[in-house]
Amino acid sequence: MDLFLQQIVNGLTLGCIYCLVALGLTLIYGIMEVPNFAHGHFYMIGAYVTFFMMTLYGLNYWLSAIIAGIVLAILGVLLERLVFHPMRHTPATNKFIAAVGAMLFLEALARVLWGSDYRNIPSVYDNVVQIAGIRTTEQKLIIIIGAFVLMAALYVFIKKTLIGSTIEAMAQNRDGASLVGIDVNRVAMLTFAVASLLAAAAASLSGPIFLVYPGMGNIIIMKAFVIIVIGGMGSIPGAVIGAFILGMAETMGATYISSSYKDIVAFAILVLILSIRPSGLFARGVR
């Protein structure tokens, strides 16, 4: 029973990280219809920026995380301006390939600049805490709390600000007949900024418990895709639900089934879902 509760906390932690990454991916997909393959590598760069801010410049963890967020937001806007904006009228396949190109570029660049070594963001909060009989670390609590704070902030941003609600409206209804007079450019840039910031936050939060290396974006981006397909591409609540489903499924699968095949769980779920519902779990059927 203890193990089970422990695994719930672990699943929740993993779900939180997935959630922050998947939210960005789904926002970008919703607004631009770009499956941004480079998003996982933004997460990777976010981890590196945090790492170097702390180790090279001796900055405090939180300050490093904020700087990583700012750097990544700028990078996100740059990617949108330089690659996706000029390609917005090209076929979907071309955008996808461009995103793949951006991904390969970023990973190789990270390798060239920082080498292929595995690194670890120094953990300041690695004390074990016990809450209601569940043993966990401070860092995991920080991940959970941090992720929920960010989700709440995103919620407020989307629901209470004009530009935020525009993003939501555009994401959920791309035809957007009622959205005449919106500065689409501004919305696109802002979406990329917010999404990349969330990826950086996921990286800073999880950095102390995960390893940091150039290829770390590869698996997470694919899992994020699995999540947003489960949740319906472009759907914000769908991404949140999908992230926690996957986080839990993986943790439980690793504990109770097989840890070496745990990474397959996510992809097997996706194949299963799309075999039964070719347009995703929550998509409204047309034909």
């Binding site: 690659v83 071309n94 347009s279």
Partner: protein
């Protein structure tokens, strides 16, 4: 016959050149290293031809191709290592098993469309890769498969030397190109292209879109499986990394450099990419930095690839000469009476609208 030759002048010149250069290359090649590069390039090119059929002709961005490549390689390698099968039995078996799996994959994945299809095939590729990596007892896991035998001799023909292996792979490449050329210039190729252009329109013409996609996918997987089997007996070592999506992306890059939906594109692209890779030897780690950028630049500025852009240029030049010859270019029927050119819907979008 003469007019036929004349009409296909460029094609014949192309084939002749390919044949001559292909045959004399080992003789004139200044060092054996180039020969290994060319052999590996040809093997990849066969796989890229498969990708071209599915991405270029059918317009379906399948990212499971390296998975099929790995599957073909491991199947052939395991059949030869564990069952002592003859290469000439293992190769077709590997191709057929890959094809059967691809049909099963296709049955699931072609029910999805657009980005869902891309992501689904990507995930299937990842699953194949993970199974290869984790199924330690069969595949050797991350340690890989070592000591895969050379292709068995056919009568007096042995494949012990690098030259003989080169020619073996070259023959398979020629067969592949021949088949792809036949497909491309037949009604089957037209059918595939019509699906790429507009699935909706193709199905209103009575074309069974699902069946044709599956057929194309199966043919593509067959050749990808052959490429994998050739790879296994050429490199003689297999690791799980030959089935990762990174290899799929490389295939995609080769295809885009050469030009999708063209018969020459895959070979041209693979060779250009090989030359670039080799000339970057001094800075191997920069390779993907450059290729990543190239991928973006090509889709942004030269979506036709080398062959496609050359063709566009040729059309422009002929057009220019025609104008000079005729004084002016004949105008279209009723041109000027309407609003000029028609607005063409962009590819890949559905045009079935509910009112």
């Amino acid at each position: 016959m003469l007019s036929f030759l004349k009409e296909h002048k460029f094609k014949f010149i192309g084939y002749g050149l390919l044949l001559i250069i292909g045959i004399i290359f080992p003789i004139v090649s200044p060092n054996r290293y180039y020969l290994t590069v060319a052999t590996l390039g040809f093997i990849y090119a066969i796989a890229v031809y498969g990708l071209n059929l599915i991405v270029g002709y059918l317009g379906q961005l399948s990212l499971a191709q390296a998975g099929f490549f790995g599957l073909g390689a491991y199947t052939s390698g395991l059949l030869m290592l564990k069952l002592d099968l003859n290469f000439w039995l293992a190769l077709p078996l590997a191709a057929i098993i890959t094809t059967i799996l691809a049909v099963l994959v296709g049955l699931i994945s072609f029910r999805t469309k657009g980005h869902y299809f891309v992501i689904l095939t990507l995930c299937i590729g990842v699953i194949i890769n993970l199974v290869i990596e984790k199924w330690d007892s069969l595949t050797g896991g991350v340690r890989g498969l070592i000591g895969i035998p050379l292709p068995n001799p056919i009568g007096p023909l042995e494949f012990k030397t690098l030259e003989s292996q080169y020619y073996l792979v070259f023959v398979f490449l020629l067969i592949t190109i021949y088949v792809m050329n036949r497909i491309s210039s037949s009604l089957l190729g037209r059918t595939f292209r019509s699906i790429r252009n507009s699935e909706d329109l193709a199905s209103t013409l009575g074309i069974n879109v699902m069946y044709n996609k599956l057929l194309g996918f199966a043919i593509a997987a067959f050749f990808t499986g052959i490429a994998g089997a050739l790879y296994a007996s050429y490199i003689r070592f297999l690791g799980p990394e030959i089935s990762t999506h990174h290899l799929t992306f490389e295939f995609l890059l080769f295809l885009l450099i050469g030009g999708q939906a063209t018969v020459a594109g895959p070979l041209v692209g693979t060779l250009i990419a090989s030359v670039i890779t080799e000339s970057l030897q001094f800075a191997q780690e920069y390779r993907m930095v450059i290729f990543g950028l190239m991928l973006i630049l090509i889709v942004r500025f030269f979506p036709g690839g080398a062959v496609g852009e050359a063709r566009k240029l040729k059309v422009k030049v002929t057009d220019f000469y025609n104008r000079r010859k005729a004084g002016n270019y004949p105008s279209g029927p009723g041109a000027g009476s309407s609003k000029g050119k028609l607005g063409v819907p962009s590819k890949g979008e559905s045009h079935v609208t509910k009112n």
